[in-house]
Amino acid sequence: MKKRVNVGKKILIANEEYALKNSQFLAKQKKLCLNMISSPGSGKTTILVRTISELKNKIKIGVIEGDIQTDIDAKRIKATKAPAVQIETGGSCHLSAAQVSGALNNLPVSDLDLIFIENVGNLICPTAFELGEWGKIAVLSVAEGDDKPAKYPAIFAKSKVLLINKIDLLSIGALVDFDIERVRADVRKLNKDIKILPVSAKTGQGMADWYDWLKEAVKIYKANN
């Protein structure tokens, strides 16, 4: 004999409960939290290092770093004097909300305006796990190719900002084939509200627009929470 039992339960409910706790904690403290997601090597840490250095007198930033191994990234952040906590996932391809909850306890949250979570480099898995952040920031570097939004739509559908990084490579004639307009068109189909900002974290090109967006987001978040 066989018996069917209706369950109707969210499979990742345990993660969602932690995510909710994190977002409630952050809202109470009025701290904007952004979850940065991209493939490995797109330049997330370089973007953060430049952002922290150039905004240091305006926005106090702390970082939660996720990597499979090593604290290389946390050391790069700490070199800017910003507080950073490294989570080594030991093989897991994404951060979980429980890990972020532990990391938040180890950051001087009350001294900060903005907390970045730099997720494990992976364009797919981290997208499925809410961490309690206010918004996701996708990073796509031009060397990865302009077909990524079509191939990996989820992160582009869910993000508030897309930073197209390493645009300095496009000015070196014919070194990289990357059609920014194709990316814009594909991403807009998935997400009409997303802000698309071409930048070079190396040369600083386009970064002012990113800083303006951040300053506005911090201001609005504080006013609304």
Partner: protein
Amino acid sequence: MHETMVAESLLTTISAESTKQNAKPVSAKISCGMLNAINDEVLCFAFEAIAKDTPCEGMKLEIEHKPLQCKCKNCDQTFDFELCRPRCPKCKSEEFDLLPDAPLILEEIEFETE
């Protein structure tokens, strides 16, 4: 590879339900939206691996993928999203809102009873 964590959560939930029902689970139905990015083979493989030597060993997983839905801004028609050319099948408008993606749900478990 996040399917591993999904498999772990599934195993926990199904094992608890198995204890409650005092019966051996034989299959489960799962549903998910397109943005959950679940690969069936990877999820089934991960589940098979961690279910070994538990009451869930040998269980079959049936995974239903729900398309991402949109709602036409012009005529309110609801339709499945297609990345290559998303537009309303009724009025052909390309102005639409994406509806929330279906969450990852454990819908049903089938148990073998005496």
